[in-house]
Amino acid sequence: MRTILSTINLNIGYKSKKGVTTIAENLNLNLETGKLITLIGANGIGKSTLLRTLTGIQKPLSGNVYLNERNISDYQPLELAQNLSLVLTEKLPPSNLSVFELVALGRQPYTNWVDKLSDEDVLKVHEAMSLTQIEHLASKKHFQISDGQLQKVLIARALAQDTPLIILDEPTTHLDLLHKVSLFKLLKKLTQETQKSILFSTHDIDLAIQLSDEMIMMMPESIVQDQPCNLISNGSFSNLFKDEHIIFDAEKGKFIVS
């Protein structure tokens, strides 16, 4: 196990003309190789802000984010792209991209100025597509495939970028249970087979408890990172939602509405 990304006394939030809005303080998180880590928390708690700060898009209020033991703000855009890849929630703009071309765009940090794919690039693209089992879609246009398939294609693109860390923003949101489970299993398989570290935010807490190696829980008072079984036994889940009607059943490992 090697630490890929860590934070030391990190404070996140926004600076605006009206002053400073702090979202979370004193974060000491640690992402290791070969681990699937989920980020959970209620809507509006600041999951996106945390992800934006961890990926270097947004500056921390104080404290530092270290990627490979080097401050993330010291990375050049190209270097960062070779160490960290993203899967975002936003809709893709209209284009004629085929699935293969879309996955191949993940090779941009390695291609020359006219974006020509070398033999190695093509190999990596095929590797990413076979890991995600989307090879049969290669020649389809990206707007012709289902949401579940598109999500796999976007993950394949991140894999092709060949980075030790992949961060995904709510990849399971628009999927049905079947596809949610298959996506979770895919991410789990990828961490085991490629020894990558994968962090993603999700609202599917039941699945996250069953399949992730570690969880980062965002609650109004605190943010904790631990293994799911420990979080259950120390009762953290009952603090996740501030609502008397939602109760966590520690034995079944799921939330119950009373």
Binding site: E90, P94, N96, E101, L105
Partner: protein, 322 residues
């Protein structure tokens, strides 16, 4: 197509003689040689420059704005350039005489027109970051068009008949009338624009996934955007300055390239846009001076007649477009 454009016109010159005079030999009639060297050849070269330049700026804008309906004319860049030129041509009377000579020179007009188109492009960019809606951006472009028309009509109120005539002829678009000197200036501007476009091939490919993905793949977005904007402005600004506002070529040609090759890869689109841009502009030029007719139609009218239906067709099938 290039040679057909030189060959055809109010006087039809056989292709054999076209080749003869272009390769330094002699055509059957010396008047033909004169027509070719001083009129037809510059016009054909201008058509190629205008066609490639406008089409390329359309391609850049469509990807940058994530909008299949973007183009130099539709987004009001040509209007911006017109405004710049209108100020120079119609407003030169207000300047001291030595300044007005400088302003009315080719350089002054290019500068004014490039500034005008850059200004509009920046305005459109600001608006498009607030309004992500395709239609809203198009309406803004339309408003810039009306706005410049209004300013121009105010300016005409204060200008002489001679100035007005000069501006009116300019605004109808004209591929002829360019001296060899101005062609050299135009070639230089288009050359810079196309070089910057070639440099933007990789950023444009990244932008196919949107700004945030592009950044995550190592793109220096601000720098890339600046290069693309500058390339677009110099292409459409220089062309509008010399050939007048030419409609729809910039919008339609990239789509013809995309539909033909069924791809979004900008390496392929770059070359195919250059190819189709020059072919289509030469074709419009031939149409505008059909053999057997003494009159020459304004080139802007020809491109609009061909281009406007393409735009309507794109809008109608936009639901499943791309």
């Amino acid at each position: 197509m290039f040679f057909a454009s030189i060959s055809l016109g109010s006087v039809t010159i056989p292709l054999k003689d076209v080749f003869a005079s272009l390769t330094g030999g002699h055509a059957a009639k010396s008047t033909w040689e004169y027509i070719i060297i001083n009129y037809r050849l510059p016009k054909a070269i201008t058509a190629v420059l205008v066609g490639t330049g406008l089409s390329m700026s359309g391609l850049l804008m469509q990807t940058l704005f994530r909008n299949p309906l973007a183009g130099p004319y539709v987004l009001g860049l040509s209007s911006g350039a017109s405004l710049g030129v209108a100020f120079v041509i119609l407003g030169a009377g207000f300047l001291p005489s030595f300044l007005s000579v400088i302003a009315l020179s080719s350089y002054g007009i290019v500068l004014a027109s490039t500034l005008g188109s850059t200004l509009v492009l920046f305005l459109v960019l600001v608006v498009s970051q607030r309004l992500r809606d395709t239609m809203a951006i198009l309406i803004v472009g339309l408003m810039f068009g009306s706005f410049t028309t209004a300013i121009v009509s105010v300016l005409t109120y204060f200008s002489t008949a001679e100035q007005l005539q000069k501006f009116t002829f300019w605004s109808m678009g004209n591929l002829g009338n360019l001296s060899w000197t101005t062609i050299v200036i135009l070639t230089f501007c288009i050359g810079i624009g196309l070089l910057l476009s070639a440099k933007s091939i990789k950023p444009l490919n990244a932008l196919l996934l949107g700004e945030n993905y592009a950044k995550s793949m190592g793109l220096n977005f601000k720098q890339a955007r600046l290069v693309i904007i500058f390339a677009t402005s110099i292409l459409s600004g220089a062309i509008t300055a010399f050939a007048g506002p030419i409609a729809f070529v910039g919008l339609a040609v990239p789509h013809i390239a995309k539909l033909t090759f069924q791809t979004s890869n900008h390496t392929i689109l770059f070359w195919s846009t250059l190819f189709f841009g020059s072919i289509i502009m030469l074709f419009c030029d031939i149409v505008s001076q059909m053999p057997g007719f003494d009159v020459t139609l304004p080139i802007n009218a020809v491109t609009s007649i061909i281009g406007a239906p393409v735009v309507i067709w794109l809008l109608v099938r936009k639901r499943n477009f791309q």
